[in-house]
Amino acid sequence: MKKLLGITLGIMTALGGFVDLGQIVFTTQAGALFAYGLLWTIVLGSVAIIVYMEMCGRVAVVAKEPVFAVVRSRLGFRLGLVTLIASNLLNLITCAAELGGIAIILHLLTGWPEKALLAGGAFALAALLLLLQFEWIERTFGLSGLLMIVFAVSAVALHPDWRGFAQGLLPKASSAGRPALYWYFAVGIFSAMLMEYEVHFYSSGAIEEDWTPRDLGENFMVASLGSILGSLLTAGLLVLGAIIFLPRHIFPDLLSTAIFAGAFPFAQKALLLSLLGTLACIAGAAVETALSGAYNLCQFFNFEWGKSRRAREVPIYTLSWLVMLALALLIAFTGLRPLQLVNVSIIFGMVIMPLTYYPILRVAADRNVMGKHVNSRFDTVIGTVFLVLITLAAAAAIPLMVVTHFGKP
């Protein structure tokens, strides 16, 4: 039972990372524009995140070094500091967007004023984080996020074209007529699946849960199962976009549109499940980004940290995530649309991604640090291939954003 519950770290990490506000709308839009044509990016992103999540977990367990300690030691203080600032700015923007998303869902559920729900939602999250220990945080958000399965069920219930689905799993160089838009969405989906805060949260979680080298088998299982589940749900969103929106010439640009798609073939109860599942995933993403901000800061400057410790034992860590939530709330209150914020974070997240993944690959392949748990040749080759892909996508992200005006069809 304990092992089963241990999987919730992977589930929460993957759901909060894969199925957050940005990915929900982004993937539905990709389906509405290119049908099944971008499914391959979900497969690619899933394999990449499994490879790197496993590596991060292994490094955290064996070297007792979470991601940002690795970043500092391998990139040096200056470049490490740049990475820290950029990563935490992205965490902040993403957290603000997720808080905005939480307010939208609560408004759709209750009809109460959105601004009041924004503040209420942020305070409720802060209270939950203060009250709950790490393992209960991951269980709460990981298990409640499973309600998102309603999206996959809806996608199957609408009878997808399985042949087109299978063809979509194979990479294509372009789509007729709109190559820039196609690659913008390809890079965006890939980036959203590899958001830095996932590996920051996952590696810190492995240390929070006192994993030892004996748990390394479980590490691979947790990383794989969580990511496979997240990718199935992401594929479900893309299928819904292809079946519901593409034939009707709809470009879904609202969170509520994607939620409505999740319950499209069913009645009110499915709509409620769709709302609650999305709420759990988005709240999970808000928690991940706020905590990741605090983990990054403390790990980089070597302050005491840990959600499984009492707040007064780790004052800087506790203050850091509280400040992250407070600043995110302030940004959300400015009235910026959550989807605008998250679009920015997805594309800029891609730009700094190599700086997060490169140090992880280096440490995981270093026999002096990892001993017998060093990367196999296969791990290093596949990790390097993905690092090259990440770097190419990082180089293309901003030009694609400019050319397509943030993916406007």
Partner: protein, 138 residues
Amino acid sequence: MLRLLATVAIAILLCGCSRQKIVSPDDLRSDLTAAISLASETETFINYVGQQRATSNFTEGHLAYLAQTARQSAKELHSSTPVGSIAQQFSATQKAIDALAYQLATMRYQLARSPSAADSTRNLGGIRQTLQQIKASL
């Protein structure tokens, strides 16, 4: 030096704010695509609501977001000027998007209380067809 930089920055900002956006044929095509999408989505959603499958809070909330999007599009279009060659289509688009924004604003409250009012889709269908015709003429 700082004061000079601040003055220049404010001047650039004010120029940027005060200048009307020039709409090219590609811009107008993109605006039309978004408006057609909005009209089509509203039709689809109203049919869904008509089958009693949405909660009243969701119906009212989602229609409010759709209405807000339409209002925003209409506002942006009114603060823009077209390049000469598309003046006629631009004006027709303005009218159609205004009609869409008005339709969405009025049906929002009505539909949340009376989900069977699926008749509203007839007007929306007309607006969508008009938008499609304008797009085809570009």
